[in-house]
Symmetry: C2
Subunit: 645 residues, 2 copies
């Protein structure tokens, strides 16, 4: 039977289960990726597992998030991660090397391999025929320990790309068109596989743009074939020997299908404050902007910097605009320095920032009060920029640059100039010599733990009767940025759960922490649709659990966050009838009798609203393995117990 590429990648790594969509499967993991904001916790978890060395083919740790060192904490974390890499056999990418996703793709991406990463945009590596999935840190730690990765067999959505992009329209506009069609929850439990003749003119880094933001649609993964374009990319990276040709079988089917005619696309823009509020740029043109921002894992390619440089050549950006350039890798910065594109940007008035994630994760570059910011980044969740009343729009480098020149939101086709050309260089400097490679022969290494690096808290299993107040009732599409924000103030606390828990839900309800501390007991949280979308940060589960949250009830949940809740012993339940959401008021006293025993297949879970006297029917979508994890009170407890047995 002919198979699509996603099915082939899954089948070749299947540890257990079948290709039946919706069934539980386990995948063997070849590679892992961690970044510093999630990685310190991963390394503490790996330490707790007690293994001497990782069992993957490649594990790589990047320092790209917490680069603003305003006190000792981030620097201490970097040193801790370096020591953990040396101890456990992990590649270490130092600060300044760049954003994990493009650097991993350049250094380690191999078609046909599986990659599990503690960053939600890990799916970007699907651009080169990998099966790349974002997950909570603890699951990545277990993959580093050689354990297979459990998930629900996704449906495969085949998206056929036809035709060729017009001038001034680029890869970002393709994924914005996808978001316009799919919304931020349209691809939950799906893999999006791109195919068709339109691929021929999309470079591997163009595909990265599209694969990366699969996460914004809730997709489990994005998959592209490994074709001659990928071979050219590997040749450019001096790794052609790693190329393997991979594609769907002729006549392969998909569970769902869609088609995009590239020639019909125009410049698009996602309005504040959700990546799926997509409209044509011309619909919002003319608004005065504070900022134009180039960079991030969502536009990491050379052309994403070279095209802007050639647009602004010989001109000055508007004197009121902050034109912020965020190189995505050391390789890219070297190349634009050599090619003259960096000088072109600087001469036009650009601000060049440190190589890394930068303002995308709220590490600097926050816009002015209520100021409009055009960004090539993947997300515009409210306040993620660091400014509470931000107005962040997501767009292509072309649109961001045109708007920097005029000072207003501008369709780049209205610049009245020829679309600049750019040709990828045949070869780029190999970045691997500037990563610290695992030692062949392990040496005795002591973990370097600064004073802010605290042990993981211990968590009990669920009680026989789970009762407590509904401490927070939230709306639809609550992201992990709202459950546990990032940004320059909070990210440095990622290795210290007691300290970071103070910020739990602070963007939604600034008194949440205090109420939880006053309660000092078990409690519930309720959400609407797509609860926990966005970042893979497991702190959005650990910190609530630390504050007493034992059960989250929602209309629907995002994949990674749902699993993080389970990993830390929080029971994720769903409304049987979405309308019952209205029956639960904040502060109501809730109760679930014998919660684990109620988790039987096909049976409802009964929630008593003690305050109103009503009973609400809930359901669950937990696998037997996930229920077992909850019985232990989380995955660390389970791993420890099973290891002891």
């Amino acid at each position: 039977m002919s198979k699509n590429l996603a099915q082939k990648l899954i089948e070749s790594h299947l540890h257990s289960g079948s290709l039946e969509p919706g069934s539980p499967i386990e995948l063997n993991i070849d590679q892992t990726l961690t970044q510093d904001a999630t990685g310190t916790m991963v390394m503490l978890e790996f330490e707790a597992l007690g293994l001497p060395r990782v069992k993957t083919e490649i594990s790589a740790q990047y320092v790209d998030h917490n680069l603003l060192q305003t006190d000792f904490k981030n620097a201490d974390d970097h040193l801790f991660l370096r020591s953990a890499c040396r101890k456990y056999g992990v590649w270490f990418s130092r600060p300044g090397n760049g954003v994990s996703h493009p650097v991993h793709m350049s250094c380690f991406g191999i078609p046909g391999k599986t990659l599990l990463g503690s960053d939600s945009h890990t799916c970007a590596a699907g651009s080169m025929g990998m099966l790349a999935i974002g997950a909570g840190g603890l699951q990545v730690a277990l993959a580093m320990a050689g354990r297979p990765f459990a998930l629900t067999m996704p449906k495969i959505l085949g998206v056929r790309l036809e035709g060729e992009l017009p001038p001034w329209v680029s890869a970002k506009d393709i994924i914005l068109e996808m978001l316009r069609r799919q919304s931020v929850k349209g691809c939950v439990n799906k893999v999006v596989e791109y195919h068709g003749p339109g691929l021929a003119n999309l470079t591997a880094m163009d595909r990265h743009v599209i694969a990366n933001m699969g996460q914004e649609m809730g997709a489990t993964a994005s998959v592209f074939p490994a074709d001659e374009v990928v071979r050219a990319f590997l040749r450019q990276q001096q790794r052609e020997e790693d190329f393997v040709a991979l594609a769907a079988d002729d006549g392969a089917d998909y569970d769902e299908t869609d088609t995009i005619d590239l020639a019909s696309l125009e410049p698009l823009i996602a309005c504040p404050s959700s990546p799926d509020k997509v409209v044509p740029v011309r619909d919002v043109a003319g608004k005065t902007i504070y900022q134009s921002y180039i960079g991030s894992s969502a536009n990491p390619g050379l052309r994403d910097f070279a095209i802007p440089a050639r647009i602004v050549e010989g001109r000055h950006v508007d004197d009121a605009v902050s034109f912020d350039i965020n190189p995505t890798s050391r390789q890219l910065l070297e190349e634009i320095s050599r090619s003259g594109d960096l000088a072109r940007l600087l001469e036009a008035g650009a601000r060049l920032h440190q190589t890394g994630c930068g303002g995308c994760i709220g590490m600097g570059q926050a816009p002015s009060s209520g100021g409009i910011s055009l960004r090539t980044v993947p997300r515009n969740f409210p306040g993620r920029s660091g400014t509470a009343d931000d107005q962040v729009y997501l767009c292509s480098p072309e649109t961001a640059t045109a708007s920097a020149l005029t000072g207003k939101i501008t369709d780049p086709r209205d610049l009245d100039m020829d679309y600049p050309s750019f040709t990828e260089p045949d070869q780029l400097p190999d970045m691997r010599p500037l990563l610290l490679a695992p030692q062949e022969i392990p040496v005795e290494v002591e973990l370097v733990k600064g004073p802010n690096i605290k042990p993981l808290p211990e968590f009990d299993p669920l009680p026989d009767v789970l009762s407590g107040p509904l401490l927070l009732k939230a709306g639809d599409n609550v992201s992990t940025d709202e459950i546990l924000p990032a940004g320059a103030e909070i990210l440095p606390l990622r290795s210290n759960i007691p300290a970071i828990s103070r910020y739990t839900f602070s963007r939604v309800d600034e008194n949440f922490y205090q109420r939880a501390m006053d309660l000092k007991g078990d409690c519930f949280v309720v959400g609407g649709e797509n609860y926990g979308q966005g970042s893979s940060r497991e702190h959005a589960a650990i910190a609530p659990r630390y504050l007493g949250v034992r059960c989250v009830i929602a209309k629907s949940m995002a994949r990674i966050h749902r699993r993080n809740l389970i990993n830390f012993g929080i029971l994720p339940l769903l409304f049987e009838q979405p309308g019952d959401y209205d029956k639960l008021d904040q502060d109501a006293d809730l109760e679930i009798d014998d919660p684990i025993a109620q988790l039987e297949p096909g049976k409802p879970v009964e929630l008593k609203n003690v305050t109103s006297g009503e009973t609400v029917q809930l359901k669950h979508d937990l696998s037997a393995e996930e229920i077992e994890t909850l019985q232990y009170g989380g995955l660390i407890n389970e791993a420890r117990k099973k290891h002891l047995d």
Copy 2:
């Protein structure tokens, strides 16, 4: 009578007074410089003065300090400054253009002109034959309003430079040798004038290195002649027409003299945590470092980046070292990008940061807990880096780079390689087109004030009887970094006195703010020698005044801070007998009867220690004009009253 250059510069701008050292003089000011961390307050003050437009030849406002935008505050300040520049006829240098001192020198420096700047390192422009003086913001606002600048006629210290620097020894080692000789207080109320044959091989930017750190010796200004070297610099900046030859008269005398034989110098380093703890690098060689830091106003020249690039070419820096490169100007970054030096640094593993003051002012790049940081910056006061237990050493770019390669403090002569060569380019890009020039014809501009930009507090004159507790007793050499710290957390509050006052003395006594709030009344502060050294920030006077500090008593005081105290109505007094410092315990109740009336020339001021019953004799060094300012309760009150009359 033959005069030295400092006397000639002073005489040509004398508004009142004579050249008798120690006598009060007033100088006409041609140019002003403000940066963003002090400039928002300057612009609020200028607004309070009610003038339509500045009266200087050139006033320029730079945004170089508060570049880490972690929320709306810094971005709002940038927009406020831009609007104030447009309203008042001030040049505006946008974020990304670079550090005020080298940019001002490149764009506006003219031999023979006076420059007053609200940044203590304004003295750097003495490198090109200017009389450049750092001052509190309010005095700069008054200079912008056309008022002369009052100071004590300094003694002139003539330093003769002889011979030529050996390989691996550079300008930074000359100023470190000066600091070794003079200490951090040796040049209070002195101008340091460099002359002699050793100047011939020091470029204008080399001289900037030396002039800049005159502030670290407490000097009022640093002065170099305007010779052919300065002409070459102006030609490089495409401004040769601004050159004026200036030098001391033949046979000119100095109040004090010193000589340095450049050939005898070796690489020097200032140990934690004072710029005058200078020893040969070899005395501390071998210590493991966390960080090596290139940049800042203390080493802003092209050669300060090009020489490191050529040292590391073809090598990798130690994999445990953070090698932080901080370009000082847009022009410099463009040039090292074009020359290949930037690529050389990146290939070696450097982290490139945003152009500006960066980690020098605690805006990122804080070292790890207790980690050693080698920096080419001007200051290593405790905690200024952002890490409380920091170990910051000050050194040349050569020493910092050699240490980055080895991972340990290293004398660069021990690298076993030839000293790289560097030749200044004949011409560099003109930076002025990227500054926003004052409008020829003023237009109606509204000041853009974000929600964090608060009005200046109103302050009363001194009471008839000044009484209150000694709320803080501090030691010697307390810097303004300890009175009111900088750094990424606190600097964004520079436009908001109530908010920033929470951090007053927080590095010295974390309960000071709470005790002041509990007191809600007048109080005293006591310090030792050289109280208030370092930065010119007037917030170190305004915030204590806001909290009730009405009188500071010390053994001696730094020039700029002493004047800032007066400007905001705080009475600065000195111990008649330094030993009486020991008679005042913290929390003692103190009292001064009719303080203004006691300020008579040559008469002591009596301080009653109500708690012990003793009386302590104090003295003052206030001019008649300063006493008048204190009578009004500060300079703003005075300016308003006089304007109203």
